[in-house]
Amino acid sequence: MIACVAVVGQQNNPLFIESFTEGEDELKFHYIVHCSLDVIQEKVSNPKKTGSAMNETFLGLLYPTEDYKVYGYLTNTRVKFLLVTTDQDVRDIDVRNFFRRFHAAYVDAVSNPFHVPGKRIISKAFTERVGAIVKSFGAPTT
């Protein structure tokens, strides 16, 4: 189950963060996403070590903990997408697929002329679209 998705800006500031848990404990996902930026920085500064290609946007699993996993995705404009999931067995292809769709939704959202670049995304349409993407996570794609 996807617990949280987030978009983090170039300056590591949160642009969008949405949790999909029932409790009002969104703050803990703020913490998880924020700390994951350390790992993203490590991966970005050491691309050889992590084995990712230079133009690879998918950063893979950032956080292997007992209870949840954090996956990262870095766009060419240094905007980061993060996914927190409580599933222990997640297929890599599903995560990649998710990020690809998430990225497309983000691009559409920031293309809105009323959106100020680098500011929080407050578009309801984007939130709904992300919710739909999260719902369809893991579902077979056509």
């Binding site: 404990d25 703050l27 803990k28 703020h30 913490y31 007992e66």
Partner: protein
């Protein structure tokens, strides 16, 4: 199987070193032992790895063991196959022989026997004891050795070497070493092949079955041990990895799922992942299979040992962390069969062990920076994991109150499930004290500023429910459980002793009771507490009737059957179960009390934070620093807490994570308040107010604001400067920047967004202006007009701008004063769509950090701002009221509110109180060069229409008072024409000379000029009014007249315009306007009749740009002249009038007159000299003028007003002229007689003679005639000889009388002795007759002439003397 494994392990334990067997045939070993062992360990030994790659080993330790040794002899052949790793890798046969026969008969068969085993690698060392001196013995031993070589060596392999006891031969030992290594290599290769073959045979059915896996394990580990002995640790590691992989594959088989997991032994809670010897192998086996719990730890421990040997502690840590995670999951899967909380305890001890062991073996010197960072990161992860498990254990035991409900802890714990034992542990019999202790929860801590938040969950579910559900006698749907849960829930919410800890355990993550609980609360009737004690409440009534204390005392046996446990009971039971299981002393101590728990937790937290900092994961580290800060804060160490909180806040603030910042900031503020760091406290308050919308309630924000105001006005003793860039932002107004000219004051309107929740009144507000593109320009501070009161949201503030220097300015820093508090804001909002429309603080621009680029103020360089010129500066009608137009042209500058002062120079009259007209100048005037205007205007071709003046614009009437006119707003931005009524005055005396008119100007300067008579213009206008006389004179003066016309009639008008902001600027200028008469008159006598009639032509030249119609003209004659035939003096012919003159055209009138020949003439003649100048004739012209004031002269204003019916009234123009009588013959002729000498010299005396001869009979003087004529016929004339005294010396009478005969031709000669004084051409003395008019004297020659005076001749007397 277990015994077999025990045997194997004993073999493995004994076989730690690589063995080389010594077959000592002739008891030589004691002799050569020293030499052999001196080479151990072998250096640069070359062996083959499993994949036949050559590996050069730095050290290869070997152990020499005699074949007769019990260690080798005890092994059975069966063992030698499976456990061949322990067998000697080489055999050295030591022989010696000094007799050939003995060799052939005894030694050779013996050697054959020894070397017949093909499994063994061997070689023979022949020891020669022969002395070098003994040639015979030496030859014999060589012979025997050669024989041995022939018998045992072959071409492929050299198996013999010879040792001379008496010769130190280094080459021999090298040879021996290489042969031993060669043997080892061959043995190793053969045994590897053997093991592989065996393993292949075993694994042919894919996965080794339960029974066969032990064999597989032995083979694999034997192989690994062999590699380990031969220092091929990498290969050994690979074997273990393959073994682990195979094991994992085998345990995943469904058929193997039912095996025993393990973990029930004493001490199993303490992880053995780095201790392979904790348990013997035989104990790892149960039912012929390895227990997974033990065996996986064993396998990892073996790998870790190898890695440590290879000096790879980082790898141990990395693999260890992954192992712990996966093993934890495994423990979780098997949790029901494991002791209570074994998983948590095992993970915690595993982490601690791994940390300790790796840290001991880690040396930063031998690592790269990246590896060091990685190591610290792993350490930190391990510490964090241990910390999480400790918190979970502490929460179980009831120390949850000591765990901060931070996002970090919540994230770590809220997704971590509670332990899931098959049956929840029961309450021990002696747990009464323990339970009562659990009831004493720590005091609930509240956040400052009245901030109340729902506490973050530290667990995914209710412990109360989870624990009771796992009890033997209860199930989820049990009513009493819910009732009890409800009670506990109520206790935890409302009452102590539950308090904070209880709520943390009882509340679900969302703070909402779980669904079954809620449904129960709805269905339950009446007082729930009462129903609990009611005997008939339900099936479990008897059990529930037992009081809590009784239950505690009753012991575990009773509790197994009774009601659900309360939270303290659960905690007590958990504590008992955990403490009875845990063997790790440190952990035991840590769980023994709340204080120890807190200390242990902090120890782990600090260690994790430090390690994260060293691994450059600053966010992880700083977050944990926040946990440490909370600990310090709880214990009153506010100083350390504040420092750490500041780090946390700085990080969150820097990254812009306001939600997290909002959690920490109140704690920091509280610490600062406790430390009385008011400045810091204030800053924290400001930051709290600056947080994003929604993070703080309005009431909380108001509380914070009141705190800020209280501090600023009351508490602070010294001024404090605070950056409020995120709270107060500002921007200039949208649109183009304010444009001012250098030196202009002004007011700048800015918008200020206040993020304060309520209105605040500042003492002062100022903003800095920064000049762009000029480095040297400093920062200018401008202040607001008044102390502003900032409301939440957008405020408009007007700043007072003092005069600025030229440049472009942007807004810099906004500064406000609030009591002792100095607020600074550096945030300038960009002009985006939102801010230009008045964006609110809630808009995105509120936090915009972009630097200002758009200037708000542009101060231009000094330049002309206004220009005032005359519409027409030439050709206005003099002596008549005229419109004078002033073009007031602002040059890109507003003249709003400006005042025009006017004062005229002499000769110009302006009514100081009059109604002026103002109208807009045409569009063409704007931007045109004003200097061109008069030129074009003066061009006759453009006289008909001035392209710069557009008529028909609306006129406005302005009142002028005291010479001041206030310009209307319509004239502030566009060029306007102000029309004034003026009158140039020129007065004429009777004799025709003009005198200056009295000054009408109030200006003192001009008064002074007047007093000094410095007004020159008026005195130069004589020629304009003097109609000159006769033709000859007229021509003579014609050229000078036109020149004089350029300055005649020029009047000065001083204009002074006060304009600009606060009328601080003045524009002063003196305008000159030339006023002219309408006509210039030139007259001449064109004909003279014999009857004394003269024809006088009067030429009229129009001087104005207006059409002049001459309606009437009259010549008024001077005495001595009369009109012909008594006419009225009108021009001839009279029909020429009216005459229309176009601008700048010429016309002429003809008048006739004649001399008056009456008796008056003689009288007139007698006074002619004086009368000519005093009396003259006048040409009086009556005319009309039609013109445009925009072009020049026009009809006088007064006429228009007074006689409105007559559009063009008649004006009068007079021109004076003097008619002179014709001159008759002279009375006397005066001439100087020729010089008596031709060449007069200086000092030479000569007599000059003048002859005076009467030409006309009579006397020169009438008076004389009347008195003396009768006495005689001579006239008494007075003479004078006038000479330059420097040139001439006269001797004789220079003045005197002589008698002149009255008869025609009468002559008198006047003589005088004259002596020239200088050399050169000098004028001779002149004879004057003062009593006779000059005109009556005819001089011969007519003009003066010069005489050449020579130097005096040389004096001979002087020459003689010389």
């Amino acid at each position: 199987m277990a015994t077999f494994l025990a045997h194997y392990q004993s073999i493995k334990k004994s076989a730690q070193r690589l063995v080389v067997a010594i077959a000592d045939v002739n008891d030589l070993w004691p002799t050569v032992k020293e030499g052999f062992e001196a080479r151990v360990p072998f250096r640069k030994a070359c062996l083959n790895s499993k994949f036949q790659n050559s590996v050069i080993l730095d050290k290869l330790p070997v152990e020499y063991i005699l074949t007769t040794d019990s260690r080798l002899r005890s092994r059975t052949p069966q063992e030698q196959n499976a456990f061949c790793f322990q067998e000697p890798f080489a055999m050295v046969v030591l022989v010696t022989c000094e007799d050939l026969e003995e060799y052939k008969t005894i030694l050779k068969p013996r050697l054959k026997e020894i070397t017949q085993n093909e499994e063994r690698e061997w070689f023979i060392v022949f020891v020669s004891k022969a002395q070098l001196a003994n040639d015979q013995a030496g030859k014999l031993t060589r012979k025997i050795y050669n024989k041995i070589e022939v018998d045992f060596s072959n071409k492929k392999r050299e198996r013999c070497c010879k040792l001379d006891m008496h010769v130190a031969d280094a080459a021999f030992w090298e040879d021996v070493e290489s042969k031993i290594v060669e043997c080892i290599r061959f043995s190793l290769d053969r045994r590897v092949l053997f093991y592989e073959e065996e393993i292949r045979n075993l694994t042919e059915n894919h996965h080794p079955q339960a029974g066969s896996f032990v064999n597989y394990f032995i083979l694999k580990e034997s192989l690994a041990s062999m590699f380990q002995m031969t220092q091929l640790q990498d290969d050994a590691l690979r074997e273990y990895e393959e073994l682990e992989q195979s094991y994992l594959e085998s345990v995943n088989l469904s058929s193997m799922k039912q095996r025993k997991f393990g973990g029930h032994d004493h001490g199993d809670d303490s992880a053995a992942l780095l201790d392979s010897h904790r348990k013997p192998l035989s104990q790892l086996v149960e039912d012929d299979t390895f227990r997974e719990f033990d065996f996986r730890q064993y396998l990892f421990a073996c790998q870790a040992e190898l890695l440590f040997f290879l000096n790879r502690p980082v790898d141990v840590a990395a693999r260890g962390y992954s192992f712990i995670i996966s093993f934890s999951r495994l423990l979780s899967d098997n949790e029901k069969s494991l002791p209570f909380s074994l998983r948590e305890v095992w993970v915690l001890t595993a982490c601690m062990t791994l940390i300790k062991e790796t840290e001991e073996r880690f040396s930063a010197r031998s690592m790269t920076i990246e590896a060091e960072k990685e190591f610290h990161r792993l350490q930190a992860d391990l510490y964090s994991l241990a910390r999480v498990k400790l918190m979970r254990l502490g929460d179980l035991i009831g120390y949850g109150g000591n765990i901060e409900r931070t996002p970090c802890n919540s994230a770590n714990l809220s997704m971590l499930p509670w332990p899931k034992p098959n049956i929840w542990p029961s309450i021990p019999s002696d747990a009464a004290d323990r339970i009562s202790l659990k009831g004493q929860f720590s005091e609930k801590r509240s956040k400052p500023f009245g901030i109340t938040r729902k506490p973050l969950p530290l667990a995914p579910t209710l412990l109360l429910r989870d624990a009771n559900r796992r009890r033997a006698s209860l199930s989820v749907g049990n009513i009493p459980e819910f009732l009890e849960s409800r009670q506990s829930f109520k206790e935890s919410i409302y009452g102590s002793p539950a308090g904070d800890n209880a709520s943390s355990l009882a509340l679900s993550p969302g703070g909402v009771p779980p669904a079954p609980l809620r449904s129960m609360s709805m269905s339950a009737n009446g007082d729930l507490t009462g129903s609990l004690n009611s005997p008939g409440a339900g099936p479990s009534t008897p059990i529930r009737s037992v009081s809590f204390g009784t239950t505690a005392k009753a012991g575990a046996a009773t509790n197994r059957y009774d009601r659900p446990m309360k939270l303290p009971e659960i905690c007590a039971a958990a504590e008992f179960a955990i403490q009875s299981m845990v063997t790790d002393e440190k952990l035991l101590k840590g769980l023994s009390s709340a204080e120890n728990f807190e200390d242990f937790l902090m120890e782990l937290t600090k260690a994790a934070a430090d390690s994260y900092h060293q691994s450059w994961r600053k966010r992880h580290g700083v977050v944990l620093d926040g946990e440490v800060a909370a600990f310090y804060s709880r214990h009153g160490n506010y100083d350390s807490a504040a420092k750490l909180y500041e780090k946390v806040c700085a990080m969150y603030s820097g990254d812009g994570w306001h939600a997290l910042l909002a959690e920490v900031l109140p704690d920091l503020a509280e610490c600062q308040k406790q430390l009385e760091d008011l400045a810091g406290y204030l800053l924290s308050c400001i930051k709290l107010l600056s947080l994003e919308k929604g993070l703080l309630e309005d009431s909380e924000r108001h509380t914070v604001q009141s705190e800020v105001l209280w501090l600023a006005h009351t508490e602070l003793k010294n001024p404090v400067s605070v950056d409020v860039s995120t709270l107060i932002t500002f921007s200039g107004r949208g649109g183009s920047p304010l444009k001012l000219c250098e030196g202009d004051p002004g007011s700048l309107a800015i918008s200020v967004w206040s993020g304060f929740p309520g209105e605040i009144t500042l003492d002062a507000l100022s903003v800095t202006l920064i000049a762009t593109f000029t480095a040297e320009e400093g920062v200018k501070v401008v202040r607001s007009a008044q102390a502003p009161s900032l409301k939440p949201g957008k405020n408009d503030v007007v700043m007072v701008l003092p005069p600025q220097r030229a440049g472009s300015y942007v807004l810099g820093v906004l500064t406000g004063q609030l009591g002792q508090l100095r607020l600074r804001s550096h945030t300038y909002c960009m002009t985006s769509a939102l801010s230009s429309k008045g964006g609110s603080p809630e808009s995105d621009d509120f936090l915009s950090l972009e630097r200002p680029l758009r200037p708000v103020l542009e101060v231009s360089e000094p330049r002309p701002l206004v220009d005032i010129t005359c519409v027409v500066s030439w050709g206005l009608l003099i002596n008549e009221p005229q419109w004078l137009g002033l073009v007031i042209r602002p040059i890109d500058y507003s003249l709003k509110g400006s005042i025009l002062h006017l004062s005229s120079g002499s000769g110009l009259q302006i009514e100081e109180e009059q109604i002026c007209e103002i109208e807009a100048a045409g569009k063409l005037l704007k931007g045109s060069n004003q200097k061109q205007f008069p030129k074009d205007h003066g061009n006759p071709s453009s006289a008909g229409e001035n392209p710069f003046i557009v008529k028909g614009k609306e006129k406005q009437f302005l009142g002028m008072k005291d010479g001041k006119v206030s310009l209307p707003d319509s004239a502030s931005d566009q060029a306007s024409i102000l029309w004034l009524r003026v009158r140039a005055v020129q007065r004429m005396q009777k004799n025709g000379f003009l005198t200056p008119s009295p000054p009408s100007s109030p200006l003192k300067a001009y008064d002074k000029d007047m007093a000094n008579g410095n007004i020159l213009e008026d005195s130069t206008t004589l020629s304009n009014f003097s109609g000159l006389l006769l033709g000859q004179d007229d021509k003579k003066h014609g050229s000078s007249r036109s020149k004089d016309n350029q300055t005649i009639g020029v009047r000065k008008l001083d204009v002074k315009l006060e304009y600009g902001a606060a009328l601080s600027r003045t524009y002063e200028r003196t305008l000159t306007v030339q006023f002219l008469d309408p006509l210039r008159v030139v007259s001449r006598v064109i004909a003279k009749g014999s009857d004394s009639i003269i024809f006088l032509q009067v030429t009229l030249i129009s001087q104005l740009n207006a059409s002049i119609t001459i309606e009437d003209a009259e010549l008024v004659l001077q005495p001595g002249f009369v009109h012909v035939n008594g006419e009225s003096g009108r021009p001839f012919p009279s029909s020429i009038l009216p005459l229309v003159m176009a601008p700048s055209s010429e016309s002429a009138l003809l008048f006739t007159a004649r001399y008056e020949m009456s008796g008056k003439r003689s009288e007139e003649y007698s006074n002619s000299v004086q009368c000519e100048l005093e009396v003259g004739s006048t040409v009086v012209i009556k005319y009309q003028i039609v013109g445009d004031r925009a072009l020049g002269a026009h009809s006088p204003l007064t006429c228009l007003k007074k006689d409105s019916m007559q559009e063009h009234p008649l004006l009068e123009f007079k021109s004076f002229l003097v008619l002179q009588m014709p001159i008759s013959d002279p009375f006397l002729a005066v001439g100087m007689l020729p010089l008596p000498v031709d060449n007069p010299c200086v000092g030479e005396q000569m007599i000059l003679q003048w002859r005076v001869e009467r030409i006309t009979e009579g006397t020169c003087k009438p008076s004389y005639t009347s008195t003396d004529q009768k006495l005689d016929d001579v006239e008494h004339l007075y003479y004078e000889v006038e000479a330059d005294p420097d040139h001439w010396m006269l001797a004789g009478r220079k003045k005197g009388w002589f008698f002149m005969p009255q008869q025609n031709g009468g002559r008198v000669v006047v003589s005088l002795v004259c002596i020239p004084l200088i050399v050169g051409y000098v004028q001779p003395p002149c004879l004057l007759l003062p009593g006779v008019d000059k005109t009556r004297i005819s001089n011969t020659p007519a003009g003066p002439h010069s005489i050449c005076i020579l130097p005096p001749p040389l004096c001979s007397s002087f020459c003689v003397k010389k």
